[in-house]
């Protein structure tokens, strides 16, 4: 081997040893420092809100496939661990109910289907379905039907094409109800 090559190789070896020594030294120093530092005390001094205000949470969330980690989670097992009763004890139901528009909820109920498809219909029929009531309903509905038919004929006979008022002004809101 050429003496020059030998000395170059020796220098390389020394440099590698020095680098390894420095790395070990650094690791040791960091280890000592980390053990010496009270992380909780440091974290108490950190203003997490200010830190989080700087972080754009939406950006990584947009890139993240949320479904993938969710698929790996056993939600049933997770839910089994939750004490729903205790959770519900923390919920102020009055505040929750105040937020709900009961009238809106009731307005969404299809009363026709409710009466037709539940025992409620039978209860109404038994409580109000007397023969006299039934006869009265039939007579009135037949009269309304006959009125409508006669009106239809008269409108055709008079060739009336303009819209006629269906109800007096004060009763038009009643008429508009379904």
């Amino acid at each position: 081997m050429d003496p020059q090559d030998r000395s170059r190789s020796a220098r390389k070896g020394a440099a590698a040893s020095a680098e390894l020594l420095a790395q070990r030294l650094a690791e040791r120093v960091i280890d000592i420092v980390v053990q010496a530092v009270d992380i909780n005390a440091v974290l108490q001094q950190v203003d997490l809100n200010a830190l989080l205000a700087r972080v754009d949470v939406n950006a990584p969330l947009k890139q993240m496939d949320v479904n993938a980690p969710l698929k790996q989670i056993d939600l049933n097992a997770l839910l089994k661990q939750i004490d729903l009763n205790e959770l519900l004890e923390h919920v102020d139901m009055d505040v929750l109910l105040d937020r709900i528009d009961i009238n809106d909820v009731v307005a969404r109920i299809d009363m026709d289907r409710l009466v037709e498809q539940t025992d409620l219909g039978a209860i109404i029929a038994r409580s109000t379905g007397g023969l006299a009531t039934q006869g009265l309903d039939t007579m009135r509905s037949a009269a309304v039907g006959l009125d409508r038919r006669i009106d239809h004929w008269v409108i055709r006979l008079l060739r009336r094409k303009d819209q006629v008022p269906l109800a007096p002004p004060a009763l038009r809101s009643l008429e508009a109800q379904p």
Binding site: E116, G121, D137, G145, L171, E175
Partner: protein, 194 residues
């Protein structure tokens, strides 16, 4: 000719101007009711006069006193009820009501004026009633004079629910009386004959 209509139409008719058939039927009922009451009243008076005087009293339809008192009775019968809540017995049965032209509750004086001018319909040989058919608001001549109109006022919504309930009742009864258990999921329902 069928005059059946769907229950939803009943509700939509609520508050609308009442038509000729309803009004005519109501008038016929009132005519029968008022005549029966008048006849009973005459019979009662005859009975009382016979007890007091001892001689029987007989009334004839052609008697001018009977005719005048009958017309006066008709005026009171209709006027009193229209001035009250705006509907006679017949109108209450048919579910129609006399209201002001704008739809509000009728004034008592309007009820009496309507009753007083009601005979105009007959005196004009029926032309006074023609407004019920051809007027845009179904108002007869006495309605125009008294400033009234007739509207449907029965609780059609409740009637509709009663109708739907009657439709549902047989289904509910059959379901309750059925001894057969409900088929399990995936199991075929029991076969029926026919």
């Amino acid at each position: 000719m069928s005059v059946r209509n769907h229950p939803s139409q009943w509700v939509s008719a609520q508050g609308q101007y009442a038509g000729s058939a309803s009004r005519f039927a109501a008038y016929l009922i009132d005519l029968v009711a008022s005549t029966i009451i008048y006849s009973l009243a005459l019979s009662l008076i005859s009975f009382l006069v016979e007890i007091v005087t001892g001689s029987p009293v007989s009334w004839h339809r052609n008697d001018i006193v009977v005719l005048i008192t009958y017309v006066a009775w008709q005026f009171v019968y209709f006027g009193f009820q229209w001035a009250g809540d705006g509907s006679t017995w017949g109108e209450a049965l048919l579910g129609v009501q006399v209201v002001r032209a704008d739809g509000r509750r009728v004034h008592p004086w309007q009820g009496w004026v309507r009753s007083l001018t009601f005979p105009l319909g007959f005196l004009t040989l029926g032309l006074g009633f023609l407004g019920i058919l051809v007027h845009r608001e179904h108002r007869a001549v006495y309605d125009l004079i008294a400033g009234t109109a007739v509207v449907y006022a029965w609780d059609a919504r409740a009637a509709r629910y009663r109708y739907l309930a009657r439709q549902a009742e047989p289904v509910a009864e059959v379901a309750a009386a059925s001894p057969l258990p409900n088929p399990a999921p995936g199991e075929a329902p029991p076969a029926t004959e026919g």
